[in-house]
Symmetry: D2
Subunit: 461 residues, 4 copies
């Protein structure tokens, strides 16, 4: 949830779609929804709506680089009329920060036009793209979302409906994905058969909403109905909702990192409250821990809830130990090493009275490179902390993700290159412990999870 | 050459390409060339250059809405390295003012990537587009240029080279066009077999240049070598220039309106100096005219040279009668009828001392709707002119253009709906005469012309 | 600390100054400091630095409307060289949102030039302004800061130094203020004799820093030395620091609202840690409270620490009950009543698992209009809270502030117009209690406070 | 009238004011008027209008860097209501390109508020400024316009009206100036007693207009009434116009350069049509010239009319020899020497057919540094001209201007440092001749002129 280069993993996207079966300017709802999903991607934002006046086949699109509030001003939103729409926020992987890659992808094709938004990663995109190119299909972007769009329109010719084409296309796709496609008359959504990526269905004033997280439905003023099922194709028309579950039934593998870090703590994903999952992780951490300390603190914002859980289970009091400055913009001045150090100071400051003379259990949700953690520990000690015991509410991060998470190269994963004790020394902690892999399941009881980044067990390759 | 809604026809585009067989930042040359071609299109501008660092298949593109000087700032141009490049300025037809339609069109396809710039119109684009869409080729724009690009990449699969694909594609195209395509290693240009649209070849510091007009080559500091021949495919590589003339040999039909109005007066097109052509048109006008007047004046800028010619042939002295304000931007305030009237006043003011007490021959290159002319005559009379005889250095504009000129609907063509005497009365002139169609040829001696807009004789349909 | 129209009071400004007795581009330090002070004002930002190349008497100024990160890009900051500088962030009162009012105020006057930044309010500004205008001094702004600047330069003629002029001017000023003035060779700061407004002195790499809050010194990489004393004039030159305390000795009256809400929780003001003050207020609240509840929650961000204190004193567990979205920009779309409701939803969402089936003590630092609180309570109940007991960590807000805080008109102060029970009913709480006025002192033991907004006892009028 | 660094002198400003004695949004009229005055200054633009809602004492101001069309968009203009207003365009002298210096200058002072626009230069501004500063009047700009404003408000205290204060202030001012001042209820204008700077009075739809040039009145849809007299104070109120001529009667000294270059050719200044003056200068040049040549050409735009006059008097035919590109923006890419050369090519191209094989008389209005002329002659020869005889329609420029014209330092004035023959050699002409000083008077028969830049005879110092 950070603006600055930091030690966190990054989700690549958030998607939002809405169908109002009556005149309604849904662009306003999408704006609210995307703002609520902004933590999933801050590089670009875009909205497409049905627009019979639109020269591009009845779909009008506005997209651009930057935050939702930067891409859309009042005039821009008000110009987007129409009762059906999709929206997207995007975080880019290294090297792919291209205006061309902003979504929605809006295309004219033989059956009319569509706009598509996508969260996730298609593992076999390269192969599909080559086949597409042999068929003469040009690519204007470097994204796998365009590959996905082409698979759908290619199937559309031999399908009776867009939703059938989506299903046929899905048979060829490997990976984790949540996709929403709009035509000028329909909204179609699909979630990958493993349920790797989240997708929720909601309702507001008689309109149906699809969104990466339930919190976006709620922030837009709506109510969560249920999650789209792994493999389910949901179609919204003026007649209401249709569900095609013929692709369902695979072994599920829900991304554990949504619970650990990506999702907003107020979201409910696949029946599990994210806040509760994080609290449970903190509790599980404490259960096997025998450290003696005065207070438990969390690294804002992501470590706070696990810290609450740890405190509840350990009996050590929970305290907020950092002030976080939320005004740090993207135009930071000198990204030199010295200033990167300063950047942490600008974002987080220690509340001295909390930590002075105290031994602290410091909880964070994960360690990727370890740089920020080292600095925070220094800051705590400078403020008078007498001991800092770091506890991570997930296991060591060891393996790459192929489903759409931006992971640094292996050499930059501190846990992959160093033993736990070496990591402890590098970050300057008095002790360091992780959540035990076997306790991961406690975060999401009854749910089948993908935890490949911890255990190398990939559901689909 | 105007900014405001006016009575002129509009060219749709200008193209520019350059290949330097050595390290050179050609984006600067393209910037100069596009600035020189700005009169051909003010809606959008774009540049693509070879860029091995580029994530989009080694071609980097910057494009946007507005003038060249608005789309590119210093930083933007300096970021575009590379020794091969193409550029484009675009004027949009009604309803097509879309950011998506800005060029160059940059695509990844099975053989790599290309960027394409296009001036002209493909008459059979709709049919080709439908075929393309049946093949699964999606369209991101509403332009025929994308149709053209798809024809080329579709042919590329069964061709040995991009230039062969361009030639094969050309066999399917009907219309007038000048196209420049760049790959990361080549520059390929083609001119339609009728030579409807202009395309010149030049040289600067060992680099080869292709441009819609010779004036752009000159403004960029280069020299005109020759015109690309109708139907010729020119390929520039590190080895130099290759010419494929196997499509040449059709009956030529060079657009007469380039000489009348579109091209800069300092350009040379197909061996004819544009300034000379306009001067000759003025002379031809005078030859059959018996009006008695004190002075000859031209409507700036396009009517000035014909007025010089008329003056030379008639012996009536030539005088500049209008001051033109070149600072009128696009953000004019109230486009109401009253303000549209004011707009002419803001752009052109009469030099009273020139016209006071004088009978004037007023020359313009063409009349489309007649609104501006009516106002100018009112202004001249208000400044004391005792008579205004309007002479138009082209025949009455009667028929639409299918080759890329933005023509108003027939009902708005004043000469199509009204007799010459009715037109005279509407614009308030004392007399009105046009260039005789049979004299058109004097503008471009020895050249085979397309004058379909005057005589309904279309070279290709 | 909010972006949207809300129920909070607003501080009007933050000031920052730095003097490096060696070549150093202090604009970078000021940028960091202002970012840390952004919560004190989001309307405009500005920086002045010494610049011998500057045409305006050796001081160069950049200022504009918006956040620090919006007003200053990298190029803008890098263009501001110089080793002495001041900066300002401003929140505007209703009606005064003028570009002209952005600070620093940079003036040329008889002794050279100066730039001034000011936090606070001069009560007798109107009278002084009239005197100034009688003397022929024109005003370019509507701010009392310009009045202040004119008093200083008026005194400068009969003073030996700028610091003497500052002191002389101060004798005429009534109100609360913290002011930093730079000449091209000096930095002079003054704090009002009552110490109403805060001003801290720090050090970084041999440079002296003055700032509204110690957290800004720390975020800029420096260390707090001490607070500037009430009435003290501090002068920084290449020789070091000089202190003139001849105006000191008045009865002090430090603004209690800095501790309650304005200041960052990581700041230390007049020896009191702000976080600790808020924690103590929470403790004091609890001490006289007999409510029975399951959990204590705070309204983010300002109520969180008091909630921690309440929890510690009451033994009721503290929990984070809201997710806060920090990506809500200023360009929110439709500021209608319905959307204003939505705005709270977009900013704060309830963490259901925390509150479901629970009776809650909900802590906030203050209630101004009561609108947000009513909505939060609705949201908590909708999420399953069985009881909501509101506790405010300050007394009822009843009287206006004359020292620079933006207070709504009396009719909008809910506590001023309604009894506590009426307020309780309007916000929909099960019970409502405030901090007792007699307990205010516990927040800042040993400090003489201004709590006029609660008790109508103004230190200076 | 140029955008690029060039060889021309620069006027520093254009002013416009309007008073409509009925509800009318005069900002639109001012926008039109300033656009017509854009040639007098392209650095900044601004408009002030009466606005009872305005927080700054009933005057609302918008100003900024750039062209009129860049500073004001539709929304900006529409936000400026009010029936009284003034506007300004500004060209800056070297080093003074400061946002602070944009006009109107809007001030609050003891009697209310005013906005002031100024063209010209106050010679004794430095002395007055020092006196003002001694009185405690701070300066926010480096311009003499602020000095002027302070003189007026200083006199206002002891005057019965703003117009009386203006007149009193004028008694202290030395220099050339045309000033318009608005209060929320009046419009007052003054022209310096020598009439150095122009100021015209006009009328449109019952509203009175004041403007630097009559062409601005006409472009805004109005009619010229007369020139403001040298020394006249004109006051416009709801009662109509009042004229105070008590300062009139000095020996007049109208700036000759308005006729030579600054003013638009369609303006009438002090009864003399500018176009006619330029035509006469060309005639006078020819009268003493015995050169034998084929054609006469002018350097666009300023040399064209003098060329017409030369042609008329000499019998040598006049021809337009250059195409001028009016699309060259301010963001030119590389201002290196090589690119500066290119810049001339981008702006002006030779029409080859006009000059090929011809001996040319090339007319320009003045030579300042000589760089552009050298290049143009090279270009003409490259296009086949067999001889180039340069004739300048003004005498050699030898002395600085103290009245508001931006003149390069003496060392850069080619005529000041070199003999006519040396200049001829440097620019590469076959011959070179200037207008004889004794013929200057022919441009403006019966008018008393300031030609100090040619003859060192300054009307006021």
């Amino acid at each position: 949830m950070e603006y600055l280069p930091d030690d966190k993993l990054h989700e690549e996207c958030g998607v939002f779609g809405i169908y109002a079966p009556y005149p309604r300017q849904v662009a306003h709802d999408i704006y609210c929804g995307l703002t609520a999903l902004q933590h999933r991607g801050q590089e670009s934002a875009g909205i497409s709506v049905s627009d019979t006046r639109g020269p591009m086949g009845n779909i009008a699109t506005v997209k651009g680089m930057g935050l939702v509030s930067e891409v859309f001003d009042k005039a821009g939103i008000n110009g987007l009329t129409g009762n059906i729409g999709v929206g997207h926020v995007r975080y880019s992987t290294t090297g792919g920060s291209l205006p061309e890659n902003a979504q929605p992808i809006a295309m004219n094709y033989i059956k009319g036009c569509l706009a598509l938004v996508h969260n996730g990663n298609i593992i076999n995109a390269a192969g599909l793209k080559e086949e597409q190119m042999y068929r003469g299909q040009a690519h204007y972007t470097t994204s796998d979302s365009e590959v996905l769009a082409y698979e759908i329109i290619s199937e559309r010719v031999r399908s009776d409906s867009i939703e059938e084409a989506v299903k046929r296309a899905a048979l060829k796709l490997k990976g984790g994905y949540a996709v929403i496609i709009m035509s000028p008359r329909k909204l179609v959504a699909i979630r990958d058969p493993y349920g790797i990526k989240p997708l929720a269905l909601g309702e507001k004033d008689g309109a149906f909403i699809l969104a990466s997280e339930s919190s976006a439905i709620r922030s837009a003023g709506g109510k969560l109905i249920r999650d789209v099922l792994p493999g389910e194709v949901v179609t919204v028309t003026s007649e209401g909702i249709e569900s095609d579950r013929s692709l369902c039934g695979k072994k599920e593998a829900h991304c554990i990192f949504e619970y650990i870090y990506f999702a907003r703590s107020d979201s409910v994903i696949d029946g599990i409250e994210v806040r509760k999952a994080r609290f449970m992780a903190g509790q599980a951490l404490a259960r096997h821990d025998r450290v003696s300390a005065d207070i438990v603190c969390g690294v804002p914002d992501s470590g706070l809830i696990a810290a609450e859980g740890y405190a509840a289970a350990s009996g050590i009091p929970f305290n907020i130990a950092f002030h976080k400055n939320s005004y740090i913009g993207r135009s930071f001045i000198k990204p030199t090493d010295e200033e990167r150090r300063l950047a942490v100071h600008m974002k987080l400051n220690v509340l001295d009275s909390v930590v002075r003379g105290k031994t602290i259990v410091l909880i964070d949700d994960s360690i990727v490179r370890g740089n920020t953690m080292r600095q925070l520990i220094e800051m705590l000690r400078a403020s008078g902390a007498t001991g800092v015991h770091v506890r991570i509410s997930s296991p060591p991060f060891l393996y790459p993700c192929y489903y759409g998470t931006d992971v640094p190269s292996k050499g930059q994963l501190i846990a992959s290159e160093h033993s736990t004790d070496e990591v402890r020394e590098r970050i300057g902690a008095d002790s360091l412990a992780y959540l035990r892999p076997e306790d991961l399941g406690e975060m999401a009881p009854g749910l089948s999870l993908c935890s490949a980044c911890f255990d190398n067990d990939y559901p689909v390759l």
